[in-house]
Symmetry: D2
Subunit: 478 residues, 4 copies
């Protein structure tokens, strides 16, 4: 109880410290050191002097870095690349020693010698109180630079390695976000929402305040005030087909009657957004979804269905390629003719056109998920790769699930439900990661078969019952 408060105070300390970070500034602002000076300070931080004055040096370096212009920041990154790699002499000696006698000691030394010096440098920069916040911004810059200078990859590997360790799931904290969350955090939710834009505070309120809505975010205790990733959840009594079922209408304006959470059977994850560009590639989403599923189940035992309502960001591009292709396994010539309607604005609202489009589009969509593959053998759709890789199954394809301009442009309005069933997650993941199989419901697979029978497919019921689980050995994957 109250000893948790003791630790509550602890985090206050961290936060206040964080606030002061804003005033991070070099000891003497007027005389910028330039990148050469920074290099000298970095060497000092790695030297014995760093042991005595590590915090002060780290603070100073991070402060100075924050004041650098774009070109200087690039120069700094190149210094990290060129001057803070491994000590190559030591490395050669370590390799010789190891090759001459493969002892544990030789291995230890080889391991140490192969580590770029910048790894220890980054660790020591983290001595500065809340240094981690600046380091994350540093990597954000680095990721931009990498586009033009691919050899910076080596520097990024070290940042990514350390961030992976520091932002380990064991260090993350899940926090509910609701209408009683501090406004400065909520403001960031508005800012970081990447899937279905939150236009203003009223919209935010509609997503957070009703009792059948939830939001959860991961935080890192050392990167206070900054959500890392968050998910928005709607509690419903059925799996929604369209985003407007979830977002439309203000409870307060009578547009939608919220349901009592105790009556909900389904939790719909309708928006997941990463917040920190500087943490790109550090994976949180998988853990977030599973933790939220666990927490919701504990609080609302009647919930038995955990499902996403997801965009299909790669569909329109893929379809365009298939339509243009001379030979397409996915589309017949007839399909191509029908789908020409997609190029006309307003097709979705034309009651004579839309049904025909649907009949051609949905099998193509099924093909997109079940058959289409990248050169590396993965599903084409990045969102599909994410959820299927997490162990979800492809539950349903929703025609015109999202008519927003972006969704029409990216996916001709197509939306998808992925279903998370805790008991199947591991098997689904194995199927996907190990054997490249996409676990999908019969309904989805039937779309494909109906459209373009490719192989003999054994129909399987979609009820998700235990009997299905038993029959899983027989279940057919694309």
């Amino acid at each position: 109880m109250s000893s948790s408060s003791f630790f509550g105070d602890m985090l206050q300390t961290i936060t206040e410290r964080g606030r002061k970070l804003l005033s991070f500034a070099p000891r003497d602002q007027s005389s910028a050191l330039g990148t050469k000076g920074l290099e000298t300070e970095c060497e000092a931080l790695l030297s014995s002097r760093g042991e005595a004055s590590g915090m002060a040096l780290a603070k100073d370096i991070l402060g100075r870095w924050s004041l650098l212009g774009e070109e200087e920041q690039r120069a700094f990154m190149r210094i990290l690349l060129e001057r803070f790699g491994p000590d190559t002499d030591r490395l050669e000696r370590a390799i010789d020693a190891y090759r001459s006698q493969r002892t544990p000691q030789a291995l230890l030394e080889l391991n140490a010698a192969a580590e770029p010096r910048r790894q220890e440098l980054i660790r020591r920069l983290n001595l500065a109180p809340n240094g981690i916040a600046t380091l994350v911004r540093m990597r954000e810059t680095l990721l931009k630079l990498k586009a033009g200078e691919p050899d910076l990859d080596a520097v990024d590997a070290d940042f990514a390695h350390l961030f992976g360790s520091w932002f380990n799931r064991g260090f993350l904290v899940l926090r509910p976000i609701d209408w009683s969350t501090p406004a400065d955090i909520l403001e960031k939710i508005i800012h970081y929402e990447a899937v279905h834009e939150i236009r203003d505070w009223n919209e935010l309120r509609r997503r957070l305040a009703p009792e059948d809505r939830r939001c959860f975010a991961f935080f890192h205790p050392q990167l206070v005030d900054e959500p890392l990733i968050f998910v928005e959840v709607a509690l419903t009594t059925m799996i929604p087909e369209a985003i407007n079922d979830v977002l439309d209408g203000d409870v307060l304006d009578g547009g939608r009657a919220p349901i009592h959470p105790g009556d909900a059977t389904t939790a719909v994850f309708y928006s997941i957004s990463n917040c920190q560009e500087g943490l790109r590639g550090i994976s949180f989403g998988n853990f977030l979804i599973k933790q939220v599923v666990e927490d919701l189940r504990r609080d609302m035992p009647k919930l038995d269905s955990f499902v996403t309502l997801s965009p299909v960001p790669g569909f329109a591009n893929w379809l365009a390629r298939e339509r243009k292709a001379e030979v397409s396994d996915a589309l017949s010539e007839e399909d191509k003719t029908i789908l020409a309607a997609l190029d006309e604005p307003g097709w979705a609202d034309d009651p004579t056109v839309a049904p025909a489009v649907k009949a051609a589009l949905m099998p193509a969509a099924a093909w997109y998920f079940l058959r289409a593959r990248t050169p590396r053998g993965k599903p084409v759709d990045p969102v599909a790769r994410f959820h299927l890789g997490n162990g979800a199954r492809l539950e349903r394809l929703n025609f015109l699930g999202d008519r927003s301009p972006r969704a029409m442009r990216q996916a001709y309005g197509l939306m998808v439900n992925y279903l998370y069933k805790l008991d199947d997650i591991e098997a689904n993941h194995e199927a996907f990661a190990g054997r490249g199989e996409v676990v999908a419901t019969t309904a989805v697979r039937r779309l494909l078969r109906n459209g373009r029978p490719a192989r003999s497919i054994v129909p399987v019921s979609d009820d998700g019952s235990k009997s299905e689980a038993k029959r899983k050995g027989n279940e057919e994957f694309i």
Copy 2:
């Protein structure tokens, strides 16, 4: 303000999670897997399956490990050593590739290949909520085993490497410990106090409750309820010579009149204790002292002297050797004769003996600090190495500063003050770490000179004034 409370709640979440850790238990307690089963689970955790079910697997492995007997834990450590080292085939290939062409890519791969697989294993074990607590206990076990099986060093190197990164000072939080701290934390302070035993809660109260006493501890947000290191501080108006000046007498019993903190000029660090055996070698003390100095200065601007009152744990052993040695640079034959009194119980209370002993002992003590060196060229005393390495200077030697049985046995009652002067810390540290010099006051050096003039020594005033700082170039070190 209140968004810090938001994060306060966050840490509550961590704490509650921590509490539940106690019930960490394997999925099926009755059928222990044995170490073989654990190895299989560890392999699974490192495999792709670990991506889908990492948290559950990690929880399970840590839970099972906690139930292992001593012999099984030893077996587990050997498995870590023998089965989770680097992939040697990959390493050989990486070396060949690097040797054939020293590209950044080859270096990257060499670095990755040289890393023992158990590093990633330990990182993934940390996926379990509060896994870190069990990992720290795991290393505690490992350190015990290492004594008998030195090849486990290689395993320990990986634990130490990761703990050094995770318990980075940037992640630590300083918290005051006082009489309103939760009892379960205070109980640990009693338990972990390693310098001057806290016999009971009344003694604890005497150390924490008076307004001229302070205590601070470092905590890690993920290892809640567990102080990592703490320091006890007395606010005084002069540098104390004896531990009884600090500890003796209960304020409430009239034994000691506490001073108003605003009147204090001196902060005495009279006890520093590390708490977590599993974090041995991860250095906190240096940062703790400096942070406490900074915080105290901010709150009490009149404080101008920050000083320890420290034990001298290696003195008696060293002196015994010198007394036995045929030839001693430190002791004359006359000294040896006088110091024979030390072998008689009660010498310290005998007014005819003690002064003579003092006259011989103090120069020897000065020699011990200023001249005596280990084979590796360091001062003999471990506490001296710590404080001098932090940039403190040797301020004063105190004859019979601690008459407790332990102190009499270890150091014939000798205590020492080390002085921390923020402006000089870096220079002092450089002198010590770079040139092996022990920075000491003239008073201490004079003891040596008087006793046994070895080299010409230029007297230097002890006032710590700016003029001294300027003359530092001339200052003479032993």
Copy 3:
């Protein structure tokens, strides 16, 4: 430190309890008891049964009351009036006893007998967890009903008496409101702002987030989530003349450059709003301002001027009356002619008209503050009565300080600064409360003299220096 967290947890308990209040509902919703049933339950609550089951009964009564329709609530209030007054038989006996012998015991009994039974009833209704919230809403209803049924005054007197005791300043807590305050509290700030409307969240952010803006509210620990009164403060380097100096322009849009709080010399209280209609007449504003002055002074020692920028809500009405009056001490016929321009829209923007209006309006305004009195001898303006009664002095009149439609309608745009000088507050209050004097600067008084010299007035400097304080004996009040 952490024992304050212990109590932090305590308030969490209160809050969570508060949240559940929303589900306050009678034991059996379907069978409403009607007001007759409520009366019976109220009698039970006052009886011995109330001792055993007080909380449950109180909860039930408050829950049922919340479900009553308007007419039933009126009936309930009349029951409180008619059935829960003093026990008149007992009162007669107590009077007789007291008249026959004026003993302390007789007095005690008389005191007890004269107390209406509804006072104890209200106290016992407060046994319900967070009953106070419902009781405040109950009085809100009562105040509306009182307008039409003045004999309900007697009931209101009891509510007011108890609320005065329960919302005693000693029980209130001042809390800063800023951009990190929970959104549900901020939403109420938007809602309750009564002086200068906050149109949306962007406007709120402009008032709370810049570092030269502050907001403070009083809360009662038992009426959580509900500010009682709040004040918005701007930190400036001079006393502003117009509300746009304070509100205009978004810092982020470059409309206004915020100053560093450390550079501020002046704190401007530009909006004070009471929040709880049910607490009308319970005075908080006086305490709020003084507490905020104290807190700001402690945190920013350079602040030396605490001043309001206030509306003049009664001015236009008063001026209209004076303009219509056959004989006016305040206005000459010439004034009246000039002020006729006020009836034309756009006068304020007409460069030929506005200066003439100003010349006539400002002396009238000075008269309004310094000479005009209500029949009870008080200044006409309610805001003036509030600040002068608190011990502020009338500092400056600002022509066209607020051009918003409301301010133009209420006061032809006039705004006023009242100055709070801690050392003078008591004397100013005494002057105002004891002798009916309005303490004003020479500048304000000169306006009057210039316009309409009434008595000889000794000019006094406005510098607020110590010399002025000494000359206060001479200072002249209107």
Copy 4:
């Protein structure tokens, strides 16, 4: 969630304010005002000046009061009695007015005029931040003085009236007390424990730390750091007969095996202590027990028996009187002869004596509870009056339940269980408060009948089953 933290911070504010209270001191310590000066300040506080400077005045008065000597404090109380009673002139006029016309206005004025002026004075003293703490100490002093000066009753009536309103159950907060509670609070638990002494921190730990032990306290948000009342609870699987069943043996020392809370069926309230002498007569215990019962039931649904293990503080005195009495309804001459053994030390340990004593003592004890009455018709035992008045029933008498010297002296070791059954509490209370009946189990009543058959008694089973509830109409009360 986090808005509760917002309010958490609020209470921190209160606490910190509370801490500063200790430095409450008059503006000028050197020149004490004496009681005459205090009287003047109190008058000022009641005057209009009090409106402007109320907080400062109240702080000053409370500060000065704290420095008064014993005799001066007495003088101050007499001033409150004599100078701050009702305004008698106004009272006479109000009576006249009311007698001439019994209007609501006249009643209102009569009510106001009959209120002693010190009530408003005490309210205004409470303006001082944390003034309430000093006011409680003030009443503590008053209660001591009242013993010798009964006319101070009139002053106490006003304190008691206001405290009853301010410490209303609706304002109290229940907090669990456990081993993670701040030490300064726990220290007070040791200090205030009034039933079974807590000798030291180890004993406290034994009572708080095991998982089958609980403790709860009421706090008032404005009297932070100070528990008002607390109860210690043991979770068991049967109703204990002796205090040693609860307190004996340290779990850690193997003296007692704690049970898993989930297995507990019975919650034993074995110690209830009021903490604040200055709040004597303000009733908390009733609410505390019921709230704790509710909370425990919610958390542990398997709990079905809530019972005390209580002392019988009045038994030995009553028995002595009966034994001396020439004629006793409670004791036969034979009983008296047997009970003479009680005067011999060691009777309880003598296997030949104790059984005979038991046979005579237990019927007498039953008589003591069921038949013996005070002159006012209440049970003789104060603890019995408390629990029976709360609606508990007398469950069992335990021979030699407590062999501590105090219990042997007060009650010859007798202990009693009172049972709280939520469904029966109201009926039991009504029976006791309304009809003077003591609800007791058949077993207890049988003791009486066996000893001394008085009336025909219908045996009733003790199982507490629903069938019993139905038969309650038949249940027989003494």
